[in-house]
């Protein structure tokens, strides 16, 4: 039992970060039906930005730099949307174009970073990086706890944004039924732009939360892309709340799997679960199963 809890607690903590990473992907899919394969590379870019801020003279703690990262990627995400993504959304025929555009963008980010910073892993180690506290027999790492708390705070802010602001409600309306939303006077172009910015920024902050215990390489996104997709699908494609629940569940499963199998194959569980969910409950744990007869 205690062994189980020793894996469960870190699973919940990392799951909070996955939730944050996945919420951005879920928001973007929900509003504009774009499966953004470059999302994990936004996370990678955010990790490099956190690293640059921390190691590059300013020395600002990545948790404190999170608002800066959010702002930078909100603007950056809107720029990517305006320059590229908005040209391939809307029509059904654009599905293929969306897939290859976002894959291509992700690859460009990876290789530009590779050219600039090489593939040498970068580490952000604040003074408390190895600290932690025992609660009973369970060790709780300080950086992971902070990462979880950061995720909870951002989740709360996102909830307020989506429910209490005009723009947030427009985003929710658009993700429910964008056609009806346009009839109600929602400016869909502007909503898409802001949703893409917010979605990018959410995942980016997830990157800043990760950076204190995950070394950074240009290809670090590949390790998280399926985790993010699994969380989003588990919670139901397009649902931000679902993506949060999905993220936490994925964190727990990934961590608790180590009770039975080695840490090296913990992602086999995640990928396998992802496949299983797609097969048996393609609309997520809470979604309705719709099958063509």
């Amino acid at each position: 039992m205690i062994e189980f809890l020793q894996f469960l607690v870190p699973g919940i903590l990392i799951g909070g970060v996955y939730a944050l990473l996945a919420s951005g992907l879920g928001l973007i899919f929900g509003v504009m039906r774009v499966v953004n394969f470059a999302q994990a590379d936004f996370m990678m870019l955010a990790m490099y930005l956190s690293w640059a801020i921390f190691a590059g003279g300013v020395g600002l703690d990545p948790f404190l730099a999170a608002p800066l990262v959010f702002a930078a990627f909100f603007v950056g995400g809107m720029a990517v949307h305006w320059l590229f993504v908005r040209h391939v959304i809307g029509r059904r025929e654009n599905h293929d174009a969306q897939v290859i555009l976002t894959i291509g963008l992700g690859l460009i980010f990876q290789n530009l970073i590779l050219i600039r910073y090489s593939s040498e892993p970068r580490v952000v180690a604040p003074s408390y990086a190895n600290d932690g506290d025992f609660v009973g027999e369970i060790f709780i790492s300080r950086v992971r706890l902070y990462a979880f708390l950061l995720s909870v705070v951002v989740a709360a802010l996102l909830f307020l944004f989506l429910n209490r602001t005009r723009t947030g409600r427009a985003i929710r309306a658009a993700s429910e039924n964008w056609e009806a939303a346009t009839y109600m006077g929602v400016d869909i172009g502007r909503t898409n732009l802001i949703a893409f910015g917010v979605g990018t920024a959410l995942t980016a902050v997830g990157g800043s939360a990760l950076v204190t215990f995950q070394s950074i390489t240009p290809f670090v996104g590949l390790r998280f892309v399926v985790v993010m997709f699994a969380a989003v699908v588990l919670g139901g494609l397009g649902s931000v709340g679902g993506a949060f629940v999905g993220g936490v569940l994925i964190g727990i499963i990934q961590s608790v799997s180590q009770v039975w199998t080695s840490a090296a194959v913990k992602n086999v569980w995640v990928f396998g679960l992802f496949l299983l969910i797609l097969y048996v409950r393609p609309n997520g744990l809470f979604g309705k199963v719709q099958r063509a007869i």
Partner: protein
């Protein structure tokens, strides 16, 4: 003959290049261009059905590992046999991975394919060897596929590529290709006209996976020389496949050859010149190609060039009035899509007609969407040769009833019998084969196909003996022969409705379901429509018509069922039903009484 020209050009070009190149690097570039063209052709088979796979590296990985492990084993298996084994495993795995997603609409296939190579790579790297050297056997060139002369790999690759292209080209001109194009275009309609979408998608995926596994053997033997999990299972495999296929033309047989001819030399020469200082140069070429294609020519170079050529020829030689296609010497106008018939099983699988059994029996059918009860306890029958009208206000459940009959929806309760046989558990293509055809309230079509091909898909779905001839004959009967090769979007509403009818009738149905066939037609067209129907149907065919134009309807049908809020409120002879006070109150309105008196 015309289709063999590109093959000759390809072989000629490779022969020419191969004769002139002698530097190791140049031969390597040529070999890799062929290897990736082969991979792209394999990947593109799935894209013909509109399915984007991001998991083909699972199959290259399996192909590479299977042959390497067999060669390293005590049995000392030849790579040729190893290739065959790898192809078999890949094909089996493709079926296992693909099948569960092939019944789902949307992104699910693409998403499911992502995780598959990742699982395999992790398992191989953790439980097996992340890197396997391929034993060196110079003593027997052919047995071990170990050629001292690098040019030999070029020729082996060329043979494999030509075989893959021939398979792909053959698919294009058979009912297989029609089915895949129909699925890509409009999957729901494809199922409604008898295309067994799951079976065709599975077949394409199996062939695609097997060819990918074969390609991996050549790739390892000719270029890599060592099997590394990270490489053969790696995402780069998928990236290159995507790039060459999308740049050349997604789903097009010759697309990947064109794409590879552009991209592979470009990427490799960049890597050769600046690769030292710019480590990601190759990947940037592929990435930039993907982004540019997505934004500028999403359909790829081959279709774009074809269209450009048609336009140019159109400008030079004058274009046909409709369809914006060209008739001329250089671009000899639209031609029918070739369809190669392969002799197969005897076609028809109809139910024998027992005497005095109704063609259609609907018994206590109920359906709700959430809290919304759309149909409750609907029961009626239609006899052979009978024409039945289905009327009721919007939302009464009429189209839902059709959708239940044709397996687009499943009823919550009750059953549907066709000629005495319960069909509730049969899928849409099977019901169509049995002889149930329909048209749609919002006309459906395969928009990337000509009207002729639209009908031909339905003929293929019904296993009509000579689908092309039968489809053309059908178009002649309904008066659309002149538009057989036009663009679908160039048709008027009346022509579109007539095409829907032609598509529904080509299978020679025993039950014809018409969903608001008169909507959008003027008075003359309305009269002509039912005349066309009568001209086409067999006297034994039962017809059910949903129609809001009640005056036209009651002149045509022999009985009417009136629905309101999912319940039958009246049924019987047309005059009796339309003068029923409940029907007037719920649907026709008091104005109707005025009209009726005037007549």
């Amino acid at each position: 003959m015309r289709r063999l020209v590109p093959f000759a050009v390809l072989v000629g070009a490779v022969a020419l290049l191969d004769g002139r190149l002698d530097g190791r690097f140049h031969v390597r570039v040529l070999t890799l261009a062929i290897v990736w063209a082969l991979a792209g052709v394999a990947w593109n088979l799935m894209a013909k059905a509109g399915q984007i796979s991001l998991g083909h590296s699972a199959f290259t990985g399996i192909g590479a590992y299977a042959f390497t492990m067999l060669l390293r084993s005590d049995a000392d298996v030849s790579p040729w046999i190893g290739m065959a084994v790898g192809m078999g495993i890949a094909a089996f795995l493709a079926l296992a991975v693909g099948l569960p997603t092939f019944r789902l609409k949307g992104f699910y296939f693409t998403l499911a394919t992502i995780s598959f190579p990742l699982i395999l790579e992790l398992l191989v790297a953790h439980n097996g060897d992340p890197e396997l050297t391929v034993p060196f056997h110079p003593e027997n060139e052919w047995r071990y596929m170990e050629f001292a002369d690098a040019h030999t790999y070029v020729w082996i690759g060329l043979v494999m590529l030509v075989v893959a292209l021939a398979i792909s080209a053959l698919i294009d001109v058979t009912s297989f290709g029609f089915a895949l194009r129909a699925i890509r275009d409009n999957e729901v309609l494809a199922r409604a006209v008898g295309i067994r979408t799951v079976a065709w998608k599975s077949a394409a995926f199996i062939i695609s996976a097997a060819l990918s596994a074969a390609m991996a053997v050549l790739w390892v033997k000719a270029v890599l020389r060592v099997t590394v999990a990270e490489e053969v299972f790696g995402i780069t495999v998928v990236i290159v496949m995507l790039s060459v296929a999308f740049v050349g033309g997604v789903g097009r047989t010759w697309g990947p050859v064109v794409g590879a001819a552009f991209l592979i030399p470009l990427a490799m020469f960049l890597d050769d010149t600046i690769g030292e200082s710019v480590p990601g140069a190759q990947e940037l070429v592929y990435a930039a190609a993907l982004v540019l294609v997505a934004l500028l020519i999403p359909e790829g170079i081959v279709p774009a060039v074809e269209r450009g050529w048609e336009r140019l020829a159109g400008a030079l030689f004058g274009s046909s009035p409709r369809g914006a296609r060209v008739r001329g010497v250089l671009a000899p106008g639209p031609r029918p899509t070739p369809l190669l018939r392969i002799a197969r099983r005897p076609p028809r699988r109809r139910i024998p007609s027992p005497p005095a059994t109704p063609v259609l029996e609907v018994e206590g059918v109920a359906k709700s969407f959430g809290a919304n009860q759309v149909l409750s306890d609907v029961t009626f029958r239609v006899q052979a040769g009978e024409r039945l009208g289905l009327i009721g206000p919007n939302g009464a459940g009429k189209t839902t009833l059709f959708n239940i009959m044709t397996a687009h929806l499943r009823a919550d309760a009750g059953r549907v019998l066709f000629k005495g046989v319960a069909i509730d558990r049969m899928r849409a293509p099977r019901r169509y084969e049995l002889g149930i055809s329909r048209t749609f309230q919002v006309p459906q079509g395969f928009h990337l196909m000509s009207p002729l091909d639209n009908v031909a898909v339905a003929a293929i779905g019904a296993s009509v003996p000579h689908p092309m001839k039968a489809s053309m004959a059908m178009l002649e009967r309904v008066g659309l022969a002149d538009l057989a090769l036009a663009e679908l979007s160039a048709l008027t509403v009346a022509e579109t409705k007539t095409l829907e009818l032609a598509r529904a009738m080509v299978s020679d149905p025993e039950l014809l379901l018409l969903d608001e066939p008169l909507a959008g037609l003027n008075e003359t067209e309305r009269l002509r429509f039912f005349e066309t129907v009568d001209d086409l149907v067999d006297p034994q065919t039962a017809i059910v018509v949903i129609e809001h134009s009640v005056r036209s309807l009651i002149r045509y049908v022999e009985s009417v069922v009136a629905l309101d809020e999912g319940r039958i409120i009246a049924e019987g002879p047309p005059e009796a039903v339309v003068s029923n006070p409940q029907v007037i109150k719920a649907y026709l309105g008091s104005k109707w009484m005025g009209h009726a008196r005037d007549q």
